[in-house]
Symmetry: C2
Amino acid sequence: MNLQPVTFTPIGVVHCDFGEPSDPKTMRNALSTIEIDEKYQEGLKGIEKFRHLFVIYHIHRALGYDLLVHPMGDESIPKRGLFATRTPRRPNPIGLTVVEVLNVEGNKITVTGLDALDASPVLDIKPYEEHFDSPTGVEAEKDPNYRPREG
Amino acid sequence: MNLQPVTFTPIGVVHCDFGEPSDPKTMRNALSTIEIDEKYQEGLKGIEKFRHLFVIYHIHRALGYDLLVHPMGDESIPKRGLFATRTPRRPNPIGLTVVEVLNVEGNKITVTGLDALDASPVLDIKPYEEHFDSPTGVEAEKDPNYRPREG
């Protein structure tokens, strides 16, 4: 297995009121501004036409991980493998959130729905596309004549 | 803006029949196996209960990027900013795909729906959770009494 390290340089940063972890629902209901490095500003052209985006960011404050965790930290739920949960404490602390776009101005995108802490480095932004990103879309894209091979 | 580089070590690798880019629909209809580094195998516990997962991977063959691109390479569609498209040629070539889980055995997950080339390094795997990952879920999570501030 080729597991060579990969290095990314953030394309921008999150600004919001949450410097410390808070109730996720409160965070998602608040406004966040994603400030993109000015050198990429032209790369945002047309992004205002999408209502929802994926934001991929570095969970820069997460430290370490456990292989087995209680989902949502709830000890009444049996432990599961970390990859079967959304815990921020992961081998590669990469955050992924669907956000709603409220405004785009220059190199700043104002959104709700983001659960990232203030100053989180943003690695990528992608338009959310129903046909590609929802399970129903994934199913609909399937070739009805396609049959998985054994194996 | 703090744009310090971030380094990740892949947690696994994609095995599939596509060593070169092919028709995306053909790729997504084929089977792929995600082989996870054995040291993380316990972290997969319970993942078989999810029908859909997000796979976050390094688009390791992508080279460079253009700020403005024709969506899906279709020259009949006017150019857009790269962040308003799913082009693999991005400042940080991070792939994001919703896949359907067919089988989990040891450290290997067999899926359909993945459009990654053979040998793509996998950075993270997350369960797809409707309430969190779909726009309707994002909307439903909203506090009905919440009003965005001006700003």
